[in-house]
Amino acid sequence: MIKKILVANRGEIAVRIMRSCREMGIPTVAVYSDADRSAMHVRYADEAYHIGPAPSVESYLSIDKIIAVAKKSNADAIHPGYGFLSENAAFSARCKAEGIEFIGPHAEAILQMGDKITARKTMIAAGVPVVPGTVDKIVDYEEALKTIREIGLPVMIKASAGGGGKGMRLVKHEEDIESSLSGARSEAKSAFGDDAVYVEKYIDSPHHIEFQILADKHGNAIHLFERECSVQRRHQKVIEETPSPLLTPEVRAEMGAHAVAAAKACNYHGAGTIEFIVDDNQNYYFLEMNTRLQVEHPITERVVGVDLVKEMINIANGFELSYKQEDLKQSGHAIECRIYAEDPDRNFMPSPGTIRHITEPLGLGVRHDGYVYEGYTIPIYYDPMISKLIVWAKNRDEAISRMRRALHEYKITGVKTSIPFLARIMEAEAFKSGKYNTHFIEENKDFLFSAHDCDGVCEDIALIATFLDYSQKLEKLKSGNNESKPAGSRWKDSQRSAYI
């Protein structure tokens, strides 16, 4: 039985994992870099150890340092969260060698699914549909040409070790094959140290739909239905929902069965996600497997009623799954918005800084997974996601209304965020009707970046607020008090004392 868990992560996911540990009565150990002494995961954990400088490579990515803290603190298990070391086969193997339970899959499964060509082969053998394309890596132009003619243009050339769009080329014309092939290979070589590439048919206007799976160490595997993740920008998910507005019950059941088959094909244990690419006619193809907890796991938790982190810990403990497939059903509808510290109007440029004020969205059907607090400075070294806003309602329309309401409540100053942009998505016809694919943001950008109609009053009110805020600052400067923090308290106080 696991007695103490080191969480090898930071930010909202570290806190989220510690929440489940606390509910299970398992003490937690935080690790933190120089930039994170004031971070919430350090405050939240039962123990906290410093592991090095701010850059991840010297702290959160340092296997040796993290193992050393686990030994020092007598943690007998490590949860890697997502990102950082979560899909690092060497880390999983090292934990095993050190006698520490890695709360995630064994190294072989990570390797098998991490290499895209191997993963494709495994899926083909398991009877899971894959995007039409090559089975083995492509080395020369002649072979590429032959294969591409069979598949038909357009195609994608992809790095086998790839991810994040690197080593990837869209080929529309035959004359571009040669240059794209060599470009992808050299990019793959420099990015991943491996120039293996393969070819897949290009699916136009695809949907990105993934299935959550859980598998124990006794060969049992179940799926927890799908997540629709087609609202993306720069290959990054922005909004996720479940159920998918696209899938029929029949296709859902079929995809779920394939997801379970995929997990069994690599002797998987733990939580994982099978990503599918789906066209408008619900033809679906295995894209890749994420061998970790996903950012967007809470929408599944809400609609299926399962705490995925607790299940991961139970699986790591060697327990059998506590659910059978037939126990599970989707109830109601959930949507997640990722809140980033960024400026949507300036090409989503990151906006790190100090949080001056937060009013968090609360109330019926709202889950908020965050880690920032008033006075906290978001470091420049890590991901700009500051929280995830998850709503549930009995149906999709009500869930959209609730998300609009929650976004309306969410007030934050000090940094710019994607909140106004997300609110616009909730008002976009294509989103409201559920008829959207991965081109949604691109196709709707005029609407998403336009301002609302408002009588002239709104603009004048904004001017008045600016006037008051700025003139108060000037007064502060004049009175010699040039602290930037407590702007306004005095004025506010004077109002209050009049009331009491």
Binding site: S351, H357, K411, A451, I464
Partner: protein, 173 residues
Amino acid sequence: MALEINIDGRTAQVTELKRDGNLVTIQVDDEIYEIDALKVGDGIYSMIYKGKSYNIEMIESSSPRHFTVNSFHNSYEVEVIDAQTRYRLSRSKGDSADSGNTVISPMPGKVVRIPVKEGEAVEAGQTLIVVSAMKMESEFKAKAAGIVKSIHAAEGDTIDANKVLVVVEPLVD
């Protein structure tokens, strides 16, 4: 007190006529507003005007005079115009100082690369400096051809927001 404030391109005269606690009378161009304006948090205002309740978030931007002002449905870019700004605007005929020949960091970050040297001639569109923040690299490019006059950062430096990084002297045409 009166201020000149630019909001999304419009320049407005804003004058305080009267203040009684949080009840303020303010003139915006020709319009006079009697408004109940309460600061409820750092950068958060609750305004009641003719019974309507408005919530305003003031987010400081690239300088203490620049704000993003959010009222949920609308997001405005606002600049308070002081004497210095006015001088700058008059001199550059509408282009703000940082648009043409000066790179100012819009956010804190780390300098990844500076592919130019002081004294070097640069083309329009040429990358002057690459800054990384939150796993994302931003390239800042020359808006016009010119000569790199000064560089105020080094590779590997951690920089604050609103810091002048590179100044380019434009070619006189």
